[in-house]
Point group: C2
Chain length 552, copies 2
């Protein structure tokens, strides 16, 4: 037997089974879809996204998983240990067809060097969040997450829309490039500072950014006009944020929202004032210490301007790039005067059981997603930000691999969508079943003290029982596949998280399972936040009848 | 409402339900049983065993769990987060009735100081292994574990019995006191060195030890006679092991097996040569550094003698007290010439899917355990060490709380016992249902690089996917309650492990669940060891048809 090597993989399409049931066809297609060249970063290495996040340990494991899923019965369960299929056991029809644990290490050994050693020995792999759990759907997720954050800002301060507001931010890189489109999708005006004109141009080409201004005067004119006319518009200005933000403050431009997505987490990846774009990387490589000092000094000026806007009443937040910490190291004392985005905007959504609900059409037909988009609009007619997202996503998002959609839904909402989709499969309105899952970054499925659980009200940031309970609950509720991962976006040692995907194949059993999974999974978010003492979660629990023993 | 406080708890007995079904009555009785004054170390603090291992977070949590279990329906599941009930969700009849996650922390925060901080805030609790998962059955487990280890030694070197062999060991403390009885139960002769006569006397009183010799000459005479006559006998000699073992070596006494259970892991708890028993604790407290040096020097002499016996062909092993490491620090280079007990004896059993199977009679009637003991003897007539254990346990073990039994069974055996017990409940041969569970220290349910997974063949000691998969598998197979713990016997940061308990209530559904759980749970041990490259596990898998995708 020869050892299997790389090959081009693409999910099967259409309504015909290649496995024995949709419960096994679904994970098979989604595993293959994760490695579709349209979806994966480096499919030949099985890398889906996030640098090293893989769908399977190696090609031999990939082929063995594919083979097992093709023959697996309706009362059997395949076990996957860090991307390698390690066993098939007899379970029952309510049990998941696949159970996955990726990248987990005993805590004292949970370090990058030990992980890399084990990885090099072929004993583990990095699963990221949705790479090793087979529910990555391309960059739509980044755009939607950014959209959702700005929608939450709008909800909190501006009556549900950014219409007539001006947002200033910086950075048009891999994550940051989603900012201008996310602001205009929320009907606002964005002014984005970027030091690299090439980055800005690329964003215009992909229609994530509307315009590039000639200079700061021009930029201010354009955004002030749009704001006045309550017109959505995004404008980039080429410059250094550490100079442009203080200048905007001096000029007294009326700015409503300020954030930042330069790559401030790494001082060598932030351009200091007075350094030429062309000299950047050479300088950083040759004199890293000097460069770091200058970069932190600039970040101090940058954040001082952000706090200046805060003092004038603007909504200011840290968007997960550690700029507050670096600015403090650079000598600016008030750096932590504004909050991080999770406590400020995302946690209230988590209290509602809201999170990144997503689904994919196994038919491969974009019309199936269009139909589900319409169903979502019908189901939640009063949710304006949701409707806006769904409409604009339909127009703007190019599918990668199997057509898919993401939107944030909460406790009491997700199961309605699931049941509706299942009916649409049953009636033939959809051409084939859909799978319904989510990112691991959900309301009750992560413990991650530097991100999702930073600054919990009761100090329980590091408690990791919750993602484990979440995986057990989904396994006990009828999910089709369930996963527990360590690491993910914030790295080895820093997070544990769990995921689930459930197939809607139009059967009555699927309806029963979907109802339970899509109720219980977001319920974990409500429970977790009630336990931590969030009033908003208590209100949701009371209103929707979530049973919490310690509340009587 | 007043805050609930300590009260005396004892499990209900008999065949009458106090909850709505046996699936909820069972965890209710077992939670209460863990806190029975006969069972628990400090019931008023909810501490069951192991210093701080608790059954519930606090008394309010205990009362709330009890209340919920009393009313929980057959398609509902209670979630317990580090001893506190956090939610009740609708699942289905194959799902566990309770899901538990205890003491888990995000790895970078998995330290004793952070754990203690969170514990003091009331946000977590230490679950040990069977304390927080409600299946502790008293000290029978220690005796049986020690018995099993010596049975494995007998199996490996002496044709399945210790008859006609002499074992020398030291230490008659909490764990070590089980050694003489475990050796005689295996039909061998034990000579145990203990420096504290009080300890030795207590062991005679509880019938764990047969005799105390007058001096070394007398001791040697007695054990040599017994060995010659192939008679089981245990004899203690009062003295310092660091002096007695070298003397035995000098005298050329023919010793077959050598180990040690002095508390060598803590140099202040090991008595150095030349120090009087009466001065020990005062000296250790006043001059800890000097004491540590002397103690390590003595351990070097002690271990040098052990290696001397090894050179003469004896079976020598470290029994988990770190004496090899301390002796090395004391200057003896060859300290690691003999192995630890897990790689030497326990891992081969793990390859068979063997582990600490246990059950408890919910009736409270010892006759129910006697009946199951007979059933075990009938089911496995060819397993001589098992039969010996069951017979002697029946005579020697005093029950604590609900009558219970432990014995090691492997893959292909456990489900037979489970199904048989279930039939005995159905037929009325047993007066009430039994619960069937195990310690977390099982073949495929622990990652613990200092104990259960030390020195794995492929270097995968720290990989923690396995206990998580184990918990997911049991949840997917019909277990009645499932738990995932961090910490346990080796402490915060050092292990992850999972448990399951399944009720045999005599119904057909219970039979289906028991068959799956008691097949799949030990299957995890076979899978884990096949994956690590153990030939013995591969043989078991091939012979018993365990499905392993990477093996074709
Ligand atoms: N919000 C979240 O959940 C989240 C998730 C992942 C990453 N992040 C963080 O967001 C940040 C951005 O991520 P990315 O993937 O877009 O990074 P990136 O490196 O792709 O892009 C950063 C951009 O900032 C620009 N830049 C650097 N210094 C500048 C300066 N002084 N003035 C103006 N522009 C400057 C660069 O030219 C580049 O285009 C990172 O720090 C990342 O860690 C946040
Ligand atoms: N095998 C396992 O899985 C396992 C599990 C838990 C603990 N242990 C280890 O086993 C050891 C024993 O545990 P324990 O609970 O019985 O401890 P313990 O402290 O209750 O008993 C130790 C005994 O050794 C005696 N002793 C000390 N120094 C001596 C000397 N120089 N000569 C003769 N006797 C001496 C003491 O008087 C005491 O009676 C500990 O190191 C413990 O960590 C092993």
């Amino acid at each position: 037997m020869t050892t299997p090597g790389p090959r081009t993989v693409r999910a099967a399409r259409g309504a015909e089974l290649t496995a024995r049931s949709w419960a096994t066809e679904a994970p098979l297609r989604m595993l293959h879809n994760n490695l579709d060249p349209e979806v994966a970063e480096r499919p030949e290495d099985l890398v889906v996204y996030g640098g090293t996040g893989k769908a399977a340990r190696d090609w031999a494991s990939f082929e063995a998983i594919s083979r097992e899923l093709t023959t697996l019965g309706g009362d059997e369960t395949l076990l996957v240990q860090s991307g390698r299929p390690v066993g098939v056991l007899r379970t029952h029809e309510w049990a998941p067809r696949v159970l996955i644990a990726n990248s987990n290490l005993v805590p004292d050994w949970a370090t990058w060097p030990e992980f890399r050693r084990l990885d090099a020995l072929g004993l583990t792999m990095y699963g990221q969040m949705t790479a090793g759990s087979w529910i990555y759907i391309g960059t739509q997720g980044i755009l939607q997450g950014t959209y959702e954050t700005f929608a939450a800002v709008a909800e909190k301060r501006f009556g549900g829309t950014l219409r007539g507001t001006l947002t200033v931010t910086a950075g048009l890189g891999g994550m940051g490039g989603a900012q201008p489109l996310a602001v205009t999708m929320n009907e606002g005006v964005a002014l984005v500072v970027e030091c690299d004109p090439e980055r800005a141009r690329r964003r215009v080409e992909t229609r994530y950014l509307d315009e590039i201004a000639d200079d700061l005067d021009d930029a201010v004119r354009r955004v002030e006009a749009a704001k006045r006319e309550r017109r959505a518009l995004s404008v980039a200005v080429i410059g250094n944020a550490a100079e442009v933000l203080p200048e905007l403050l001096r000029r007294g431009v009326e700015i409503d929202i300020v954030t930042d997505q330069t790559s401030a987490h790494d001082p060598l990846a932030y351009l200091p004032k007075g350094v030429d774009l062309a000299d950047w990387h050479d300088y950083a490589a040759k004199k890293p210490d000097e460069f770091t000092d200058r970069s932190r000094e600039s970040m101090a000026d940058h954040v001082e301007a952000m706090v200046g806007f805060l003092d004038r009443g603007a909504e200011v937040f840290d968007y997960g790039n550690s700029i507050r910490g670096e600015a403090k190291l650079g000598g600016f004392e008030r750096a932590f005067d504004f909050p991080g985005f999770v406590p400020a905007y995302i946690r209230p959504l988590f209290c509602d059981g809201k999170g990144p609900f997503r689904w994919a059409a196994l038919s491969g037909d974009p019309a199936d997603i269009a139909a589900t988009d319409r169903a979502i609009l019908e189901l939640f007619p009063d949710n304006e930000p949701l409707a806006r997202w769904i409409r604009m996503a339909g127009e703007r998002v190019a599918f990668q691999g199997l057509p898919a959609r993401i939107c944030w839904l909460g406790y009491g909402e997700r199961h309605l969508a699931g049941l509706r989709f299942n009916e649409m499969v049953a009636s033939g309105e959809l051409k084939a079943p859909v799978v319904i899952g989510r990112d691991h970054l959900d309301c009750g499925s992560v413990a991650s003290p530097y991100r999702e659980t930073e600054g919990m009200l009761d100090g329980s940031d590091a408690i990791a029982d919750w993602p484990l309970l979440n995986a057990l609950v989904n396994t006990a509720s009828g999910a089709t596949w369930v996963s527990i991962h360590h690491g993910g976006g914030v790295g080895i040692g820093r997070s544990l998280h769990a995921g689930q995907v459930t197939v809607a194949d139009g059967t009555e059993l699927a309806a029963l399972k979907l109802e339970r999974v899509l109720t219980n999974d977001p319920a974990m978010g409500v429970l977790r936040h009630v336990d931590a003492g969030y009033e908003r979660a208590e209100k949701v629990a009371d209103e929707k009848g979530v049973r919490i023993p310690m509340r009587g």
